[in-house]
């Protein structure tokens, strides 16, 4: 089964297939392309299906949760493996595969974080840098270029702590507040860029690049925040890692 044309992943595609079981064309049906309208056979997953096409929604940041759930329930009713308990092995297998992907898609599209990742992946933006960080290869790199001014402030702070640990306490707190403020600002910026992207009907690639950059920066801020908290606790005499 090969789609008739390689679809543009970002666009709503109208790909036509034929049923693997009865060869009837899969088109125009309410459950197309999940289930053959003619013979009710669950179709295997096609390469081109994304979380968005699976749930019949547009790849934008604003998602209507009620509509998503309605579609998810509708698909579950028709495709769940319980409906194919007595069907052929192939039908059961297709149902399990399709339903597991639909479950995954439903989870992704309702989580802002996972939705962001899905849209970026769809547009191949902010490539998931696979680093050999131990046997787990898929950790996305958080080691993007740090904001210069923050990195400098961080080094100064550490020097200050070495010079006079007593006096540095207040500085550490201030720095922590700065980081928090910065993280909140970044979050606001991400939301703004998401709105721009949605307003452009998914055409604004620059917005995606900016979102990707902001996400890397956020990851950097988070790891710096952990270091600062550790430093503050050390100054306060709390043994580090005591809560681990």
């Amino acid at each position: 089964m090969v789609p008739a044309s390689r679809p543009d992943p970002a666009a709503e595609t109208a790909v036509r297939f034929a049923c693997v079981n009865c060869q009837a064309p899969l088109e125009g049906g309410k459950l197309d392309p999940h289930l053959c309208g003619a013979c009710g056979f669950p179709q295997p997953l096609f390469e081109s299906e994304t979380p968005f096409t699976l749930l019949g929604t547009r790849p934008l940041f604003a998602q209507d949760e009620v509509a998503l759930r309605g579609r998810f329930y509708e698909l579950s009713r028709a495709l769940h493996p319980d409906r194919f308990a007595a069907a052929s092995t192939q039908a059961r297998l297709n149902s399990v595969e399709r339903m597991s992907r639909i479950n995954e898609a439903f989870r992704m599209l309702r989580s802002p974080k996972l939705l962001r990742e899905a849209i970026l992946e769809l547009h191949e933006v902010g490539e998931q840098v696979k680093t050999p960080g131990g046997p787990r290869a898929s950790a996305t790199s958080a080691k993007g270029a740090p904001p210069i001014e923050l990195a400098e402030a961080w080094f100064e702070l550490q020097d200050a702590v070495l010079d006079d640990p007593q006096a540095a306490g207040a500085k550490v707190l201030d720095f922590e507040k700065d980081l928090q403020k910065r993280a909140e600002q970044d979050h606001q910026k991400i939301v703004e860029q998401e709105k721009l992207f949605d307003a452009s009907e998914g055409m604004d690639r620059v917005a995606l690049l900016e979102i990707s950059r902001l996400l890397r920066e956020q990851a950097y801020l988070e790891s710096m925040m952990r270091d600062v908290v550790r430093l503050r606790e050390r100054l306060a005499g709390t043994p580090t890692g005591a809560l681990a």
Binding site: Y73, S76, R77, H80, P81, D82, R83, A85, A86, V96, E97, M99, S100, R101, N103, E104, F106, R107, K130, T131, P132, G134, P135, R136, A137, S138
Partner: protein, 609 residues
């Protein structure tokens, strides 16, 4: 609920729903769209999950339960607590059981009389009894079932339940979570919609599930629980106190007596039940030294201690609500399930957790079996307007370098589910990787449950971090996990279906099935024998009662015939051939027709004079 005409007409016969409980078990089936509990062969709706060995043969149910104290060394109960567990898992709780638990290869075994049996084998005996009860009630062979388990059962415990089903001659079409099954029965009438919590406190397990009910869809949002907390633990309050008192007075040796242990547990249960309807109860046992231990309990005193035990249900409830992304106020109903939820103190604790009066309208003992029957009917294709969307209770992942667990599928993920992730090597020129599949929520691999281990070989010898190994997880609607690992460079692939570490291997189940084919023949024969004896006994007793009268009423020849028949039946009953007993019984019946007439006539005559 739709239900078409060819119900049960499906090849393979009816599919029953079974609630295999710690304390009691039930079997139910959907007939004409309505779930119905089928009576056991003892004529009861509940089958106590107790197995007693009478003359070496298993007897299940109330009859076995009576032997808990009378014949403690040949009677086992609460085996669900041992199902799918390793010896270390139960080392703590086994000391509370009056039977001996023996570590074995992979699986633990229970010592019953001279026999060593696994929890799977004992559970299979209970399931077989349910299967036969259902067959008697339905008048047809039952080969397929849906069996419920606590939602928080891990993979090994589920696999062990499945193996028990197979051993009992049942094809287990689905393992369903108990609180989810309960929700199916609760929401069957479609009147109830919205977000609900099911608080399920069984004999030995606690589960909580949060669900969304909408137009026939039962969507589990989150589940949590504790597989070692149950109503039994409330009985323990009395037992622990009694043990302490007895030890102080008579020393601890006396407590090693197995019959005393059983008596203490039985008393604990009955005092708990007494206190549910009255303000006072008395715990009373006769000690092996002939003395009596007696202690009065007030309901208030019990409830105070019970609250401490039941507090342990709070954290799982709050975690489940949080995992569902909800707050307590979002819930529109809290459904109580399980026998112990009849206790007021349990209802009060549930109320304090959920900040609302819990719903006690469902039948706490029967609702799970009813739900299992509904799921069975869904799988049979009869019920098409209801659908259960369930989740996995515990995260699944693999071990990575440094002994850490990398979760691939987080807990509360809807099933079926799949996940892929790419891993790499840690050492230069490494040509194989160990894939260690884990289940649990802890960061450290060693603190989670090990489900399986396999090796992916033939990796190209490259510098560390270069190879790309894709690990694929697929969980079907049954919660059965398949793991595949693939070297993306060479295309070399290795896949396994996850098998339990603490359950039984396929080979072991096969071996047991084979052994059982023989023993089930002898079991059946034994049952026939007991049945024949039971039926013959009143006939014999009745005749013996009138034997003196018969000597007067009958001719010598007639009397001699009756007397010979009585002797023949007595002899047959002492033997072990059921056919002989049945024949002798018929012969005696035939021989006493005239005697019966004469006896009646005689008594009428006496009455009229």
């Amino acid at each position: 609920m739709t239900s078409n005409t060819h119900e049960h007409a499906a090849p393979g016969g009816p599919i029953v729903g079974i609630d295999l409980g710690t304390t009691n078990s039930l079997v139910a089936v959907v007939r004409n769209g309505v779930p119905e509990v089928l009576k056991s062969r003892e004529g009861e709706r509940l089958l106590p999950s107790v197995v007693s060995f009478v003359e070496g043969k298993p007897v299940v149910g109330y009859q076995a339960r009576r032997n808990k104290v009378r014949d403690a060394s040949h009677t086992v109960f609460s085996v669900k607590r041992l199902l799918g567990r390793g010896f270390e898992d139960i080392a703590k709780s086994s000391s509370q059981l009056p039977y001996e638990v023996v570590p074995g290869e992979g699986v633990i075994r229970v010592k019953v009389g001279e026999q060593l049996l696994t929890a799977i084998e004992i559970s299979a005996m209970i399931l077989r009894e349910l299967k036969e009860s259902a067959e008697k009630a339905l008048g047809e062979t039952v080969k397929r079932a849906v069996i419920t388990v606590p939602a928080y059962f891990n993979d090994a415990q589920r696999q062990a339940t499945r193996a028990a089903g197979r051993l009992a001659g049942l094809e287990v079409l689905r393992i369903v979570n108990e609180p989810t099954a309960a929700s199916l029965a609760y929401g069957l009438d479609r009147q109830k919609q919205g977000l609900i919590a099911v608080y399920d406190l069984g004999g030995g397990t606690f589960d909580v599930s949060i669900l969304r009910l909408e137009d026939g869809i039962f969507e589990v949002l989150a589940t949590n629980g504790n597989t070692t907390l149950g109503g039994d633990d409330l009985d323990r309050i009395f037992v622990a106190q009694a043990e302490q008192d007895i030890r102080e007075k008579y020393g601890s040796n006396i407590l090693n007596d197995i019959n005393l242990k059983a008596a203490l547990i039985a008393q604990g249960e009955s005092v708990k039940i007494a206190l549910s309807s009255s303000e006072w109860g008395v715990f009373q046992v006769t000690l092996p030294n002939g003395l009596t231990y007696e202690r009065p309990w007030s309901r208030g005193e019990f409830e105070l201690q019970a609250r401490v035990v039941l507090e342990a249900t709070r954290a799982p409830c709050l975690q489940a609500i949080a995992d569902a992304g909800l707050s307590v106020a979002d819930l529109s109903d809290v459904v109580l399930v399980g026998g112990p939820t009849r206790l007021q103190v349990v209802q009060q604790v549930a109320e304090s957790i959920f900040k609302r009066k819990p719903n006690t309208s469902v039948h706490p003992d029967e609702v799970v079996a009813a739900g299992a029957a509904i799921q069975a009917d869904i799988l049979a294709g009869n019920t098409t307007d209801l659908l259960l969307l369930d989740v996995i209770p515990l995260s699944l992942g693999i071990e990575t370098y440094g002994g850490l667990m990398a979760p691939l599928i987080p807990r509360n993920t809807r099933i079926p589910a799949s996940a892929r992730e790419t891993f790499t090597t840690f050492m230069d020129r490494q040509t194989g990787v160990d894939i260690h599949v884990l289940q649990g929520e802890r960061d450290r691999a060693s603190e989670n449950r090990s489900l399986a281990r396999f090796k992916l070989k033939g990796i190209e010898p490259l510098p560390a971090g270069m190879p790309r190994i894709e690990v694929n997880f697929l969980i079907d609607a049954d919660g059965i996990l398949q793991v595949a690992a693939k070297d993306l460079r060479t295309g070399n692939e290795q896949a396994i279906e996850v098998r339990p570490s603490f359950g039984l291997s396929d080979a072991e189940v096969e071996r047991m099935l084979a052994a059982q084919a023989e023993s089930s023949e002898s079991d059946k024969a034994f049952r026939k024998l007991v049945d024949a004896r039971t039926e013959a006994e009143p006939v014999l007793r009745n005749t013996e009662k009138h034997l003196e009268k018969a000597r007067k009423l009958l001719s010598p020849e007639e009397f001699a015939r009756v007397d010979a028949c009585v002797r023949a039946l007595r002899a047959a009953m002492a033997g072990d051939r059921p056919e002989a007993i049945v024949q002798a019984k018929y012969a005696l019946n035939a021989a006493t027709v005239r005697l019966a007439e004469l006896v009646i006539a005689d008594s009428l005559r006496q009455a009229s004079t």
